[in-house]
Structures are given as C-alpha cells and as structure tokens.
Amino acid sequence: MPRYFTDEHEWIDVEGETATVGITDYAQEQLGDIVFVELPDVGATVDKGGEAAVVESVKAASDVYAPITGEVTETNSSLEDEPALVNTSPEEEGWFFRLTISDTGELEGLMDDKGYKTFVDSL
C-alpha cells in the first residue's frame, strides 16, 4: 500500500480506489497537544489543496488540506472522544478521513516516504 506525503504535512495511503488521510508525526509534534479535530462530513466532496479538516491545539487552529480530490466516505470517529490519538499515533490510529480517488493523476507530484523525510530535514 503506497503512502504519499504533501508539503503541508498530510499523509495519504492509497488502497485501490480509496485513500486514507492524516497528518504526519512531524506535524503533530509541531502542533503540540491536540484538543479537538473537526472532520469533514461523510459524503462531502473535498478538492485537492482545499480545506478538509481543522485541528485545534491548546494554542491555535490549523487547517488540514485534502491531498487529492474525492468524496469523503468515512471519518475517524475515535477522534471525537480522543483527539490526542493524533499526538500518540498520528500515522496510524489518528487518521482523519477516507475518500474516493477521483483522479489518480493527482497523486503525481506528492512525495514518497524518502522524499518527505528529506523535505522535513530541510525545514
């Protein structure tokens, strides 16, 4: 299952025609304690680069962008009661939402694991 990364610190797992989106370990580390995650509605269409979710730390609200265009099929309901999952397991249990992939071409230009690591090291 290939995983891609954006330069806005989202990750996206691609599995057939759907994908799972979350924020990276680097992102949660920068944000600090996460107290609330506002997820998109199931059925909503999100656009590549458009606002898809909001993550609230003690200090500030940050937008999470959709890495690709698609229709939201599922959101992580565990985050409602336990938003801190994004801190403790950002790249597994703390996933945000799943969506359909409308254009696989949009995955081109995203970074792979190695590319993202190089990108973060350069920050």
């Binding site: 600090g32 003690v58 937008d63």
Partner: protein, 390 residues
C-alpha cells in the same frame, strides 16, 4: 496543513514597518539548550514551549498548577522613576492613589490615553525614593515614550534593560525559592503584592510576590549577567521546570487575567474591561488623570460593553475574533479563547453587550460558520491561589 508555526505575536504587523529586528534576551541560549521551541514575541525570540520530558503546553501548564514553573519574562519593561514631586507627577498620568502605596507594596495600575483607552496595564511598586514599574514587553517602547512625554523634566526615567525578569509560579514555588533567597525577612512574610530585596547566590535581587498564572508565586528582578546562573539554580530544584509562553497564556486565561493586545487595547476602557480595581477609589471620584472623563462617565452610566468569561459546550475552542450571538443578534466578540487543561473544556473571554452578561446566560459563538453553545461564567475559571499570609 497550515498554521504550523506556533507564533502568538500580535506585534508582527507593526514590526514590518521598520521596527527593530527580532532581538535576543539574556536567557536565549539557556532556553535553546533546554529544548525550547523559540518564536518571535514582543520583538524577541521567546520560548513558546519546551520539548522532551515534561515539555508541551499541557504538561507545562499542569506542572505549574501542581508544582512550580520558571518563566522567563525578561521581554517585559522594567522602569524606575525618581525625582522631585514624583507622586504628584505620576498621579497626573495613572489613576493610582500613591498616598496609600507604602514602601514594599505593589499595585496594579493602568496607562490610559486621553480618551480613556488602555495603553497598557502595569505594576507599580514603591521603592525607597523611587517608583518601580513593570510594563508589557510589546508596549514598553510606546509606554516609555508616553511617560516621558507626560512626565515633567524633573522626573528621571530609567529603563532597567540591564535587568532580566524571572517568574517562579506554582504552589511549590515558595519551597524552591526559600532554599536560595536570603534577606532581612523570610519569604513567609512576603504576602501577595509585596516585594523586598533579597540575595540569590550572592546577587542582589528584588522579589515580588505576584504573577500572571493565578497561583502563588514570585517575580524576580535580577541582573542580566546573573540570569543563566539563577535560572539554572532554580531549575535544579526538583519542584521546578522551565515553562514557555504557551502555558503562560493558558494559565492566565484560566485565571481570568486579561492579555494586553488581545483583551485590552486603546479602544477598550478599564470599566469595560472590569478593571475598576486598577483605579483607586479616591481617583474615581476626584479624576485628574488622563482619560478620567470616560472612566467617570462609564462608572456613572455603565459601560457600552463588558468583558466576560464563557464556558463552551463540547470540545471545540473558539478563538480571538469569533462573534458572539444571543439568538440572531450579534452582541460581541471573543478576545481570547482556548482549551483549559484544568477544566478539560474550552473557555474564552469576550466583550459583549452588558444586557446579556448575566452569569449563567446561554449564548452562542460562531466558529467556522457553526454555532457553539456557551455559558457566561464568573472569572477566574480556576480559583486563584494567592498567598495572603498564614
């Protein structure tokens, strides 16, 4: 995602216009060595939080509420005023009653403009022959200009920029500090809003029992060259950890204390802000200070808006700028908002129409076109724990 860099610098806008570049404070390297994440704040690089064990805003917040936290507040302005006719000259500017401010006592006061707007809030202490002021970091250059403009030439103004300022806050702050501070009397005699001269590791320091967290604690003015030594000494105590600006903000919000530039501004009067205690009784009736007209008018007629506390339902915080509604009617705006680690719930301060400001009133806050339910709540949100003597 965007908004990753945790910066809380309301001075950024003004700094783009040829203001001085970001400067370093005496403890800059000390913070970095302890894993601090530094951000620009009030014109300085400041620690917003620390990384590693015990680091993070919530952990630092809880540590301060249960043990003791060391805050570097050296960005704040320390100003010494002296000269013939000092009290009279200062009373012409500040709404303070200096006739009742005894040696060794500290008092909260306000710097108002001619229209009664708040230019800054500050602490005024009576030193032998001097008045010692502590003003906010972001406003200190304007404050000094304002004071110099309005004070007669006979009054000397000394900006103590060769001094650093540390705040040691929390229920165990006294235990840690007592092991190092020696003086003519014990820290137990130093009750809330008193100060005195002490020595720490051979350095002469001034310690005030005050702070900005709602907890018992101290503000310690020290020579800049002794800052690293004293900070290291205090943080070596088991009760003490360094705490960043992030927790300082969540602590003061829980304590119901306004933050200048957010909850206080030149558009806001002290009566609207609920800071009547910053205007001493004699001055309320006599007037004779800058901005007295508006203050006296709002005292008589009531202010057009009022600073209140709000507890929000659910977990989604409302931030500065969020609009407050009573039904369909927009009645005010949030000026500070965040998540309270102590209460485990979002809290906010807002300025609203006094008609809706009654405790227990249910209001709504608009966040990203959603309406969040909130209840008007008394402040502080978390009880103060000041030491007023045994």
């Amino acid at each position: 995602m965007r908004g990753l860099i945790l910066s809380d610098d309301h001075t950024t806008d003004t700094m783009e216009d040829g203001a001085p570049p970001i400067a370093q404070l005496p403890l800059d390297a000390w913070h970095r060595a302890r894993g601090a994440r530094m951000v620009p704040f009030a014109g300085y690089q400041m620690p917003i939080q620390y990384t590693g064990e015990g680091g993070g805003i919530v952990a630092e917040h809880e540590w301060t509420r249960t043990s003791a936290g060391l805050f570097d507040v050296s960005h704040m302005g320390q100003v010494l005023l002296s000269g013939e006719g000092l009290d009279e000259a200062v009373e012409a500017i500040l709404p303070i009653d200096l006739s009742t401010l005894k040696l060794g006592r500290q008092r909260y006061s306000l710097l108002l403009d001619e229209n009664g707007g708040v230019l800054d809030d500050l602490m005024v202490s009576r030193w032998p022959g001097n008045l010692y002021l502590v003003v906010n970091g972001a406003t200190k250059w304007d404050d000094i200009g304002h004071l110099r403009e309005h004070l007669p030439d006979a009054i000397t103004l000394h900006h103590m920029d060769e001094h650093a300022l540390l705040a040691l806050q929390g229920p165990k702050a006294v235990d840690a500090l007592a092991r190092h501070a020696t003086g003519e009397y014990s820290l137990a005699d130093l009750t809330f809003m008193r100060f005195g001269r002490f020595e720490i590791a051979g350095h002469v320091v001034t310690i005030a029992r005050a702070g900005y967290t709602g907890e018992d604690g101290f503000e310690i003015s020290i020579p800049a060259e002794a800052a690293e030594e004293i900070a290291t000494l205090l943080c070596a105590e088991p009760e003490v950890r360094p705490i960043g600006l992030g927790a300082r903000d969540s602590l003061r919000l829980e304590a119901g204390l306004p933050l200048y530039g957010h909850d206080l501004s030149p558009e806001i009067s002290p009566i609207e802000a609920g800071l009547i205690f910053g205007i001493n009784k004699r001055r309320r009736s006599e007037g004779g200070f800058l901005g007295a007209e508006r203050v006296q008018r709002e005292l008589a007629d009531g202010p057009p808006r009022k600073r209140i506390g709000l507890k929000l339902d659910g977990r989604m915080p409302a931030r500065e700028g969020a609009k407050v509604f009573a039904g369909d009617q927009e009645i005010g705006v949030v000026t500070s908002g965040g998540f309270s680690p102590t209460l485990g719930a979002p809290i906010a301060m807002a300025y609203i129409d006094p008609a809706h400001a009654g405790e227990g009133q249910t209001l709504e806050i608009e966040v990203r076109s959603k309406r969040l339910s909130a209840t008007v709540s008394p402040m502080p949100f978390v009880p103060h724990n000041y030491y007023r003597g045994s």
